[in-house]
């Protein structure tokens, strides 16, 4: 441990770390463009200048190792002047078109200018004009004028994805970022460069102009695209007179699961929150009133009782699956988790997994069978199959089932007119719940967007059927889920805030 003094305050730092890491970890605001924790130092932007006692000139914090007894100043007349001059340099050819820039509001350049810049332009020659809005491919738009040449994107394709699509071409203040002639940016993680870009040079074609970022409210969630379960920020906003809309997903740093990045597939999966939603309840193919359909479902469950089979989707949360298990035990019904949503082509060695559901592990932990053979066995003498969180009716049709079929899901699907009962549920981002990923990490998704749709929350639906008023995840944990063997050492409170690995036997 080394002790360093920053602006008169002592902080403890790791010995072999770089200075900027320790400063950022201790909440000291150090402006930086080219440095990124996942990409390491590059030292080209010179923004992270700090004064170190004993050194003649200010030094860049991203390339200075910590030594014991360092005395550092990050504020003050001198350092502010240096920063202002560097910013002036960065902004010489910047078009300052913040009004039309999508980065405005989360732009480092803007922030630093407001912190230390605030100078009048001394430029009387025209600015360098470069090409604007170039489609790099993979939903990424490049604006070369706005680029500060920090090369984060270049380093990302070089070091992280190792696809080497981007590079800096031409010299001095004409240099710009470019793909190689005739090629496009194309790799499954390409859109991460949008988050990496500290300015508005790289913007998302998908998100462009849809909403200004300062209106967006971020919520924390878990991606349900594959069994990796990457941590996400869900940026949503409810405009006046409109429904709450999810505008984008952003990666949320989680050192155990996904680091700083997510795949493009997961990033764009926000669309299923807004599009193709099941809007009405259906009873025997007829549109029905929502409340009536709920009552009807209750009556159906009472009528078929032990003749019911719950076919659960692995996209359901741990709590929901547990509560369905409790219900099936009470009714004497069967429960199965069989699902064949695998895609071997999807998997790669970075984040993506072939299992495209987030919670398949939970079936194993809750001792629910999810193989096709046991499903065949279970379905034999059943009159009613309720598909929850899924709409793959053909799965059971293929097994020769001919009784009543019900579906509770949030997506619109073709066969809804043929089924006995269809009830819309809330989507993944509208309900809380725990998910166990492929590496046995249990995570809590706390994103609860209140959409103006008639849809039922499965936990409250189950609580009305079981009639015990346990509508929140915490209630479910307290009512018995938390006492299960695999969760013995885990508290709900800690799950809420941390990613915890479940100890397997």
């Amino acid at each position: 441990m080394a002790t360093i003094t920053v602006d008169g305050k002592e902080i403890y730092a790791k010995d072999d770390a770089t200075l900027i890491d320790e400063l950022l970890a201790n909440g000291v605001n150090i402006p930086h463009f080219c440095y990124h924790p996942s990409l390491g130092k590059d030292g080209n932007c010179r923004m992270c200048m700090v004064e170190i006692e004993g050194k003649k000139r200010p030094q860049i914090a991203c390339d200075t190792p910590v030594t014991d007894g360092m005395v550092i100043r990050t504020k003050g007349e001198n350092i502010a002047r240096v920063k202002r001059q560097i910013l002036e340099l960065e902004l010489i050819n910047h078009p300052v078109d913040c009004p039309i820039c999508d980065q405005a509001g989360e732009c480092s350049l803007q922030n630093y200018y407001m912190d230390v810049g605030l100078y009048d332009s001394r430029l009387d020659t025209p600015k360098n004009r470069k090409k604007k809005h170039i489609d790099l491919g993979a939903n990424v738009m490049l604006d070369r004028e706005r680029c500060v040449l920090c090369t984060r994107c270049v380093r990302f394709t070089k070091n992280i994805t190792k696809t080497h699509e981007l590079g800096v071409v031409v010299r001095n203040d004409h240099s710009y970022i470019s793909t190689f002639p005739g090629t496009k940016l194309s790799n499954p993680y390409a859109m991460n460069v949008i988050d990496l870009c500290p300015v508005g040079a790289l913007t998302s074609k998908d998100f462009r102009f849809h909403q200004r970022v300062w209106f967006l409210k971020p919520l924390e969630a878990i991606c349900d695209g594959c069994s990796r379960g990457c941590s996400l920020f869900v940026d949503h906003n409810k405009e006046k007179y409109k429904d709450d809309v999810v505008y984008r997903y952003r990666p949320r740093f989680n050192k155990d699961i996904n680091g700083y990045f997510i795949c493009d597939y997961g990033r764009l999966s926000y669309k299923k929150e807004n599009e193709n939603r099941l809007l009405n309840a259906y009873i025997r193919g007829m549109e029905s009133e929502f409340e009536y359909a709920l009552l009807k479902m209750e009556r159906l469950l009472k009528r078929y009782n032990s003749k019911t089979l719950f076919l659960l989707s692995p996209t359901l949360s741990l709590e929901e699956i547990y509560r369905f298990k409790v219900l099936s035990q009470k009714l004497g019904a069967q429960i199965s988790g069989f699902d064949e949503n695998f895609d071997e082509n999807f998997e790669d060695d970075m984040l993506r997994k072939s299992d495209k559901t987030p919670n398949r592990k939970a079936f194993a932990y809750l001792e629910i069978k999810d193989d096709i053979d046991s499903l065949k066995e279970q379905i034999k003498d059943k009159d009613f199959v309720l598909l929850v969180g899924r709409d793959d009716v053909e799965t059971i049709e293929n097994l020769g089932f001919e009784g009543s079929v019900g579906v509770m899901n949030y997506r619109d699907f073709k066969q809804k007119d043929k089924l006995d009962i269809v009830i819309p549920t809330v989507s993944h981002m509208s309900r809380e719940g725990c998910f166990i990923n492929c590496d046995n990490f249990i995570q809590f998704s706390s994103c609860k967007i209140d959409k103006n749709l008639e849809a039922v929350n499965l936990l409250s639906f189950l609580s009305t059927i079981l009639n015990d008023g346990k509508t929140t995840c915490e209630d479910v944990w307290n009512s018995g889920l938390g006492k299960m063997n695999f969760l013995k050492n885990i508290k709900f409170k800690s799950v809420k805030t941390n990613t915890i690995k479940i100890e397997t036997k």
Binding site: C98, P99, I100, H133, R208, F209, F215
Partner: protein, 166 residues
Amino acid sequence: MGIKIVPRYGKSLKDRLYLPAIFSGMKTTMSHFAKNLKDTSNIKTECYPEMQPTDITSRYRGVHRLTHRDDGSIRCVACFMCATACPSDCIFIEATEREDGIDEKMPSLFNIDLLECVFCGGCAEACPCDAIRMDTGIFSFVATKREDFVLNREKLLANKAFRGEL
């Protein structure tokens, strides 16, 4: 130091009798009444629809308008600064890609709900492009339906400046 002793009234017989004060008050109101009855032209009231106001200054905040560029196209780039600054949330914008090469972005929808607007001038103040102004001098807006009070992009662009476009 700095203490001002305010004289207290209401102790003398004249004050407590109230009637002298009442009569002096009535004298004042009567003098106004008599003066105005004799010659109504002294009254400052303007007979509005016949006499239009002449004292609208260039700083008067009337109904909004959207300004044009030199080539006559819309100046607004849909940066949402006005919608952000608006305290009554009465500006509704949807941005879209601008295809004509003049700029990158423009509003596909720009609605101002005059029934919700409080005419604070915050939008004109916030606009970085000088695209929205309140210098039309229009102080009276009437419609028969609520929907007609929502000015859309075309109506806003059609509004003219009170003293000619600057």
